[in-house]
Subunit: 355 residues, 2 copies
């Protein structure tokens, strides 16, 4: 009936369990559990004692056991296409942090934007026991993927989809307001001949940014028509757009690219044409991606709190999965987070204004 010293399995030092804490604090394991989980129905005195014991023994609950007992421990998926690596990096940090906080596992899955690839990816996710998926851009815009996912009865949180369908949860910044703010900033500097490079047309954020730009232009009034080129968020497409923008007769004095990669391309092209940034040309971007600070001059741009957004997305997912388990699916939440205009060296007053 006695057990000599445990089966010698984990031979070394077993970690401290809830029972140890309970014994140490002179209460039952249940009470410890309640304290640790912030349950109600625990007297303050007891709570203090237990917390003391917890600290004393350095107790940290065993996630596996907790998950098992509470039928938690769902796996969440993170389906990514090919956002820029720096975006993904920050995104992962935020998502993983939140996942750890909630004790859920995060499963990464890469996926091209073709229907076949989507289907395969979703199948892998399902096979992996994933119950909810975070969709960073640009995947969050793909109707195919969303349909595929919804067919598999997954919960979805889209991140940075500017105008998500009403039936999916979403975390994003206000692209419209951000672009308007940036444009107002350019106008406030005194620029009048503006150039704009649109983002990829398959992302709603592109359109919001464009709308924000035009809104600011219109509210200012009395400006020459801005020159606009279509881009696709890639460096390459930015280069093409820049070439066109910088060849017409009245050169723009400021170019607003819908993301940083394209803005970097504009700067490269400007250099090639011996235009100095920001003296001859102001260039601003959007996203505050890694490259923004790693080129010279540093890029004035809009900062998105990517990690935070990813974290909130996971929060939402977890809440939805846990909350929705019993009752009906909760109303899809759309959450906005704050952006920030970062000024670096690539924007200045136009020469003509100074002259």
């Amino acid at each position: 009936m006695n057990k000599p010293a445990r089966k010698s399995r984990s031979g070394a030092r077993r970690s401290v369990t809830i029972k140890d804490v309970a014994r140490y604090a002179g209460v039952s394991p249940m009470t410890v559990s309640r304290v640790v989980n912030g349950g109600q129905y625990v007297s303050d005195a007891t709570r203090q004692t237990v917390m003391q014991a917890v600290r004393q023994l350095g107790y940290s609950p065993n996630l596996a056991a907790r998950n098992l007992a509470s039928a938690r421990g769902e796996r969440m998926g993170l389906l990514y296409g090919n956002p820029s690596a720096s975006y993904l990096s920050e995104f992962l940090v935020g998502a993983l942090d939140a996942a750890t906080r909630h004790g859920v596992q995060l499963v990464l899955e890469k996926c091209e934007m073709t229907p076949a690839a989507s289907r395969r990816a979703v199948r892998r996710l399902v096979a992996g026991g994933v119950v909810g998926v975070v969709l960073p851009p640009p995947l969050c815009e793909s109707a195919v993927i969303r349909a595929e996912l919804q067919a598999a009865r997954m919960r979805i949180v889209a991140v940075a989809a500017a105008r998500p369908p009403a039936d999916v949860m979403c975390v994003s910044i206000d692209d419209f307001a951000a672009a308007r703010e940036m444009t107002r900033y350019l106008l406030a500097l005194g620029h009048t001949r503006l150039g704009f490079i649109k983002g990829h047309p398959n992302q709603t954020a592109s359109e919001e940014r464009w709308r924000g730009f035009t809104a600011a232009v219109q509210e200012h009034g009395n400006l020459p028509t801005p020159r606009v080129e279509q881009g696709f968020f890639t460096f390459r497409s930015g280069l093409d757009a820049a070439r066109k923008l910088l060849s017409g007769a009245p050169l723009p004095s400021a170019i607003f690219a819908s993301n940083d990669d394209m803005a970097a391309a504009v700067m490269a092209e400007a250099h090639r044409r011996a235009l100095e940034v920001p003296n001859d040309l102001t260039v601003v971007g959007f996203d505050d991606s890694l490259i923004a600070a790693n080129i010279w001059p540093g890029l004035t741009t809009i900062h998105q709190p990517i990690a935070q957004m990813a974290g909130e997305a996971v929060d939402l997912l977890v809440a939805s999965v846990r909350g929705g388990k019993r009752g009906a699916a909760a109303e899809p939440v759309h959450r906005l987070v704050a952006h920030e205009l970062i000024t670096r060296e690539s924007a200045a007053r136009p020469k003509s204004a100074a002259a």
Copy 2:
């Protein structure tokens, strides 16, 4: 004595468990477990039957339960400083993938390179129940952090430390060979006046790359002494170094920067001086980081399989923690992975050679 329909907890559809499979296949749960875990001592016939049942029922083992029962589910830490975001991104993907494969949790922790910050970070890791840590660069070079970690009895795997101490596990590429290869490539193109920008002196990889460079130069023999500048892996430091390299009288015809960020800086500076890359100046980097393909012209550089390295690091860690549990700590493993020279547009034959 009967239980009506389970306590109604997970109200919805319970997922299929090992018992369901066992019943379906007409064997005991134990046998199923053995099959699923690739154990020995199972007849082929039984194995077939069970696998069939597994597929039929779409069974996927419950990680939480498995971890609990096998005293697994350790948490692994990933302590990162500030490597470039793209590096971190790929690193995370690889590490997380491996972690999921092994059913361990990955805990991220950020940490500055000061002793105080290190201590704090390690304390947090310990508090989080982490038993092993992956150390990407540049943290893998910090003796302070290593000491701190070892004091907390953590297993460590350093990644991309070119010359790690003998007592820690390590995954890296052969920086020496890679740099030599790149240098040979430049020499083969016909370059003779070489410039080199060293990496941060606190990283052993820097020195290996430098050694690789000089080795190639010496084996070629009969060359003017290369011009060398000290850099620190940052764009900024690359700019400073480039300025010096490009101001002396006999301009180098090719510059080998110890990483891509610095190479990008060289290109920026070259542009500013109206030197065309690669016609007037060949520039090559190291790392194949995101920026390498996102500037124009694309950067010829050395590719490291970062995700794979991160994955192997986690593998090593898991193996060490699980294997070393009973016996003595295994011999520290040093694992080399293959690099690759990526040629893009930034390198060409020197003009003088063509002339």
